[in-house]
Symmetry: C2
Subunit: 336 residues, 2 copies
């Protein structure tokens, strides 16, 4: 129960400090801009269900705590990362034209594209300001370094996003490019979340690199599992219909593998308006050509690496290291 | 001719270093994202006409040089500011749905809204990375401080932008809110451009504050003059038709004053599809109600303050201080 105890302790503190950070900023005559951000963060009246799980800042704090350091030094980094993640969600929703997130209207759907682009930009700046708060807890050298790393990650995110958007139009995507895309879109920020715990804790370079490698493996494994669940997940568990990613025509890893390896799948994929039977045949064709095994092996490889890194990082498990291992298990659907 | 000499020296160096900074970044498999940024910056084949005048980084370098310091310490700040300005242009063009800038297609018009939002985000990160290069020329304390100030300015910019976008829908805008809007949208970044010259030069706090106040006055005076020229400017000089802002129904300072003060103007303003004669009558109504005098006084007040600050900042004029004074005159249409 180390994880439940850690979440019960950390998530409310993260939430309070995120809110306090926003409240301390001066919005001048643009209080309505702040209202947009409050809504997006899930802090409006009756918004509880609209919040994310704050996994990334929890990772940062557990990595710092796992190294035996008081996690409060890492709090500015945790806030910066959560604001940054939320900035990317605002702009992603515009780019994907998604009307809903956590069951509520997205910012652009409610306030229009122009104001939503601008609100995202505001949250990007706020994320940077929060991260630079490390100057107070760890000194200006750490703050400047963290800001530099953060913006390298952001540049990496925009590269992943570029590829993702380009894929929608592109018919031929090779697996290496797909892996580069999810590395940028998903894994880079999780790697940074972990590494920042070490940087704020004053860890040596080798430890920081290993934390980053742990986070990257975790992020890759998580995303690849998510791709598998989108096709073979149990609807009772995922809350989506079976083969939902095939219905949505999402070019996920199993689909790209199938397009490369199976003529049967290629023919089915290019049908207009496939029937339920044809969707079922697609999933079967993926299974037959080895896509399921391939995707499983990829996820397993990254999962193994994530746990290997963890074992090296925290040989003597304190409470936070135990909670971090449990969180890794939960994210990767493993028993612990 | 101090200004011409300074521009001939500084602008090519700024341009080369901006380009080199972008070229040194790793875009991985997303080289096409870099191509978008190269296009936006005006560095594509035959793009010379597509470049901005790089006024803001020149301000930074002249402020540093005017204080008697080798301007090269301030170069990372100059690059960061120019990239930041260009990031705002990419997102502004999306928000305003402007198809053209410098006579060329805007990013969103050429690559679509989704990719343009993303390219703007990439350039925002690049601006931060460039600014953090101050770590090498001025130390990490200055880099962290500059990053903090930069993001406060960005937050101010988004507040100005919020108000500007809200104004389009809003019929009743008071003059104070309008001033807050242009302070955020235009003056804040020019104030920062000037202040950063002092920060990079290691100037004392009083000097940095005065540089910021100089830049803010310059930015306000410039914007208010621009508002006046949009109605009373000589078409031969402005390259726009007379009263172009009235035709475009732009809620600039003279219009807001007229809406408040003149019933005649209000009635004309609310006509649908006004004729050329009615546009002429609007300009006359503004003149009659004192809008032209009011706007002129406002511009004069800020202009006087800008020159007062300059005189205090650089009592013994070196070459860069002389060039800065000449640049201020040129931006504010004064003889020198």
């Amino acid at each position: 129960m180390a994880l439940e105890a850690a979440l019960a302790r950390l998530v409310p503190e993260i939430e309070d400090r995120l809110r306090a950070f926003l409240d301390d900023l001066d919005f001048g005559q643009a209080g309505a801009l702040k209202d947009m951000l409050v809504y997006h963060m899930g802090w409006g009246a009756d918004d509880r269900g609209g919040r994310g799980k704050r996994v990334r800042p929890v990772l940062t704090l557990l990595c710092a705590g796992g190294l035996g350091v008081d996690y409060s030094a890492a709090l500015p980094a945790a806030l910066g990362i959560e604001f940054l993640h939320n900035f990317t969600l605002i702009h992603d929703d515009i780019q994907d034209q998604s009307p809903l997130r956590h069951g509520r209207s997205t910012l652009w759907a409610r306030w229009g594209v122009a104001q939503a682009v601008n609100a995202g930009d505001a949250l990007f700046s706020i994320a940077q300001l929060a991260m630079l708060g490390l100057g107070e807890t760890c000194g200006e050298d750490v703050a400047a370094r963290a800001a530099r790393e953060m913006n390298r990650v952001c540049l990496h995110l925009t590269q992943g996003q570029y590829l993702d958007l380009a894929f929608e139009a592109d018919h031929e995507i090779d697996l290496a490019t797909y892996m580069a895309m999810i590395r940028g879109k998903t894994a880079a920020l999780i790697a940074f979340s972990s590494a920042m715990g070490g940087i704020a804790a004053g860890a040596d370079e080798e430890t920081v690199l290993r934390l980053s490698a742990y986070g990257e493996s975790l992020g890759m494994a998580f995303q690849i599992q998510d791709d598998a669940l989108g096709i073979w997940g149990d609807p009772q568990v995922t809350g989506k219909s079976a083969a939902s990613d095939l219905l949505a025509r999402k070019k996920s890893l199993p689909v790209l593998y199938g397009l490369r390896e199976s003529e049967v799948f290629r023919a089915l994929w290019h049908l207009e308006d496939p029937t339920a039977d044809q969707i079922g045949a697609m999933a079967a064709a993926l299974e037959a050509c080895g896509a399921r095994r391939y995707v499983h092996e990829q996820a397993e490889g990254y999962t193994r690496r994530a746990f290997d890194h963890l074992a090296h990082l925290f040989p003597q498990q304190n409470e936070d290291a135990t909670a971090l291992a449990a969180l890794t298990c939960r994210l990767l659907n493993r028993d612990y």
